[in-house]
């Protein structure tokens, strides 16, 4: 049991740190906090400012790739560094200390890439992996549909074979970055008369194809991180099919397993060991019922409770990491992190809003603590508790896949998809 770097890890960290110090600027003290919500705020961007962000992000990825830091864990034959997961984490920890642009490559590098490595043809690997790794082409994910959220396999977007092409019609939703992506990973239904998991086929779709229409979705934060994507007779060549016809569910599982890998450690949100340091400092200046908030036992108790849970999640991330780096397969542990973190931040945000009295509801930067960061967090958390598997889905995963509890009764798995009930007023 050791929290410190091994000599090899320390050496790697030094190497990373040296390169970063020569190629990026250290963050100021306050900047690093709660970057998970920076995106929610940044979501207001659409138009030139956002394209500027995309270009900056691409330039940074290219710079990293040129120095062989593009993706630490990808095999060397695909242009990666061939490193291990602990090195990936060390990279992440060090990079977080620097002012670096938003990472818009998670879907590509973290999910589409590994899926192509597993299921792709050699031609597909040659075509897509290199531009993905260098940041030249951004990717997006086209899985969810308005009628298929938690029940992902309930998707209805149709793919019909027509000569050497497939013709796609339907609608996807919750697609981050669709409007600046070159490629999308797309799951479709090629045969609605098969049971729901059997009739799916997976494609790589050119987002510039005729018939692809991207519309922003405004979230309750006011930002627009997500899109709806409509497909009207969009043609995809059969060579862009990933995996066999009817294997779409299995290929999707590969993608989703890799998504879980990339959820990662959760540490650093409050700058590591320092715990809730800066909030504690701020609360010294905050007044509650006429007293400094931090002299109020109830506030102390709550903040300590939050700190304990927060630290425990950070540590749980490290524990998973230790197991992974010693060869364990990525399991369902990330469900614990996602579930617990969402609930914790929501509770914290609500509480810290409450401490701000009449300003608790404000999103104004002037009269709020930490420039309304907690208000933004409160508005951003519903998306976190829902997207990428709701709390309820995570609890099912923990119960069934980790603890081996029996599955719920399923009436939708064996019948033809077009006979599964879909609502009170419609049929199949």
């Amino acid at each position: 049991m050791d929290f410190n770097d091994t000599p090899q890890e320390a050496e790697f960290r030094a190497e990373v740190s040296q390169w970063l110090s020569q190629n990026a600027k250290l963050r100021s003290e306050s900047g690093g906090m709660m970057s998970m919500f920076a995106e929610a705020e940044g979501g207001e961007l659409r138009g030139e400012a956002e394209w500027e962000m995309v270009r900056t992000s691409q330039a940074w990825q290219r710079k990293k790739a040129d120095a062989n830091w593009g993706v630490i864990t990808w095999p060397k034959k695909f242009g990666g560094r061939g490193g291990n997961i602990m090195q990936q984490v060390i990279w992440g920890q060090e990079e977080a200390k620097y002012e670096t642009p938003a990472n818009i490559f998670m879907i590509g590098i973290g999910m589409a890439g590994p899926t192509i490595m597993t299921h792709g043809t050699n031609e597909q690997k040659d075509r897509y992996l290199q531009p993905m790794l260098r940041g030249d082409e951004v990717w997006c994910q086209l899985f969810s549909e308005p009628g298929a959220g938690s029940d992902l396999a309930g998707l209805r977007t149709r793919a019909v074979k027509d000569g050497d092409d497939w013709v796609i019609n339907g609608q996807k939703v919750w697609t981050s970055g669709a409007h600046y992506s070159k490629w999308g990973i797309l799951v479709t239904r090629h045969d609605p008369s098969l049971p729901k998991h059997k009739g799916l086929t997976y494609f790589i779709v050119d987002m510039e194809s005729p018939g692809v229409e991207v519309r922003p979705i405004r979230q309750i934060t006011g930002g627009a991180n997500f899109n709806e994507v409509f497909f009207n007779d969009v043609r995809i060549p059969d060579s862009n099919r990933l995996g066999a016809v009817g294997q779409g569910w299995a290929v999707s599982i590969t993608t989703l397993m890799n998504e879980r890998m990339s959820i990662g450690g959760g540490g650093g949100l409050f700058g590591g060991d320092n715990g809730l340091g800066s909030i504690v400092a701020l609360l010294r200046e905050t007044t509650l019922d006429g007293r400094p908030a931090l002299e109020h036992d109830a506030v102390r108790q709550k903040m300590a409770e939050f700190a304990a849970r927060f630290k425990a999640l950070e540590l749980t991330g490290y524990r998973t990491l230790s197991a992974l780096s010693q060869g364990a397969m990525p399991g369902s542990e990330s469900s614990v992190m996602k579930l617990a973190m969402g609930l914790l931040i929501q509770e914290m945000a609500a509480f810290i809003m409450e401490l701000q009295g009449a300003a608790g509801v404000l999103t104004d930067r002037q009269d709020t603590l930490m420039e309304a960061m907690w208000q933004q967090a409160y508005l951003g958390i519903p998306a976190i508790r829902i997207a990428g598997g709701t709390d309820e889905v995570q609890r099912n995963i923990i119960g069934e896949r980790i603890l081996g509890l029996p599955t719920d009764i399923r009436i939708d798995k064996t019948v033809p998809f077009n006979e599964v009930p879909t609502g009170p007023s419609k049929k199949g």
Binding site: G149, R218, G222, A358, L362, D364, Y378, I386, P421
Partner: protein, 367 residues
């Protein structure tokens, strides 16, 4: 014992429901959300015409001379429908302060206007969000006010504000005409854009004392218990509406070939909402009764109602978003309207921490 509203009060509720169904649909609320309008002016006009504003204002000052129970009925319906008007600021808060502390001539001048909707009033008590008396920095010197209040709900639309300010006697209340050129109003960004907030800067503006000098904190305190009882009805109404939205969606939305409401994860969450809504409702009823008939119980009753109301609304609204899944966190859907309104109502008068302490003090006095 009869722990119900009367038939007359229920008839009043029915007519309120009808007016609000017409004028304060979710679509109407979305319109205010997306506009720069300070409030729903048409709804406000119709409320005034229907006599709602005058409900609890005595007849001698142009009111209808009914009681707080009637006001509570309206509050619940307005809460359910997220009515975007300055009703609470003008009626629960400002008019009550004037009733409690105004001179005869102030009552005669202002109450009739407020009752008719000819003027909108608000109470500017917070500074940088602080609501305790020690936080009052606005200065009153020779009936002229200087300083900044923020946030002030309905501060953009109000004609008149009751402002807490520090003078030689301590904290006192003053009436200020907000149209005065020595008042600057700025919009302040808030989560609940259906209830817009302001920062009011007073630059030596003329002010008229309201109530005895030095009694400002006590007057605000007394007003806050009354307002808490009424806001509790808005909270219960809102929580009920959020729960009903969840029930409706859980019946209609299918996943895995069945309505999501048939899954215990959803069903039991909504059952928990029901428990919170119904217990909060009971507490609100008790507070309304105390407000109307048993003032010696008001502190305990209103504190309890507020604690329960804050929790019920926050929970129902937040978990209604969750029940809706992806659609729940979109701007165009309705769940976030309640989530934000719940936080708005919580932010007024202080949150649950403040009110639990008040409840505890009332229990200690009784013990």
């Amino acid at each position: 014992m009869n722990f119900k509203f009367s038939q007359d009060q229920e008839m009043m509720r029915d007519s309120a429901k009808r007016l609000l169904a017409d004028l304060s649909s979710y679509a109407a609320v979305h319109k205010i959300l997306d506009s720069e309008a300070t409030h729903d002016a048409n709804l406000w006009k119709q409320m005034a015409e229907a006599g709602w504003l005058s409900t609890a204002i005595p007849e001698e000052y142009g009111g209808a001379g009914m009681g707080y129970l009637e006001l509570a009925v309206l509050a619940e319906e307005m809460g359910k429908t997220l009515a975007c008007t300055p009703f609470s600021s003008s009626i629960y808060m400002a008019a009550e302060l004037i009733k409690a502390a105004g001179s005869e001539s102030q009552k005669a001048t202002y109450l009739a206007k407020l009752a008719a909707g000819d003027a909108i009033a608000t109470v500017a008590y917070a500074e940088k969000g602080r609501i305790d008396a020690a936080g009052v920095q606005v200065k009153a010197q020779g009936r002229k006010l200087t300083g900044v209040k923020s946030p002030v709900v309905d501060g953009l639309s109000a004609d008149l504000a009751i402002v807490s300010a520090r003078d030689e006697e301590g904290v006192s209340l003053y009436l200020v005409n907000l149209a005065d050129s020595k008042v600057t109003r700025e919009s302040v960004a808030t989560m609940d854009r259906t209830r817009k907030q302001a920062r009011l800067s007073f630059n030596g503006v003329d002010a008229e004392p309201l109530g005895k000098a030095g009694q400002g904190a006590a007057l605000l305190d007394a007003m806050s218990y009354k307002a808490a009882a009424l806001f509790a009805f808005e909270q219960v109404g809102g929580a009920q509406a959020a729960m009903e939205m969840a029930v409706q969606y859980a019946k209609e939305r299918y996943a895995f070939g069945r309505p999501i409401g048939s899954f215990q994860a959803i069903k039991h969450r909504i059952a928990d909402m029901f428990v919170k809504v119904e217990t909060a409702r009971s507490s609100a009823y008790y507070a309304a009764w105390a407000l109307e008939s048993a003032p010696e119980k008001l502190q305990q009753a209103a504190s309890g109602a507020r604690v329960m109301g804050i929790d019920a609304y926050a929970f129902a609204a937040q978990e209604n978003v969750q029940v809706h899944g992806g659609i729940g966190f979109t701007w165009e859907a309705n769940p976030h309207l309640h989530m934000k309104r719940a936080k708005h109502l919580e932010s007024l008068l202080g949150g649950a921490i403040v009110w639990r302490e008040r409840l505890m003090r009332s229990l200690e006095q009784a013990a």
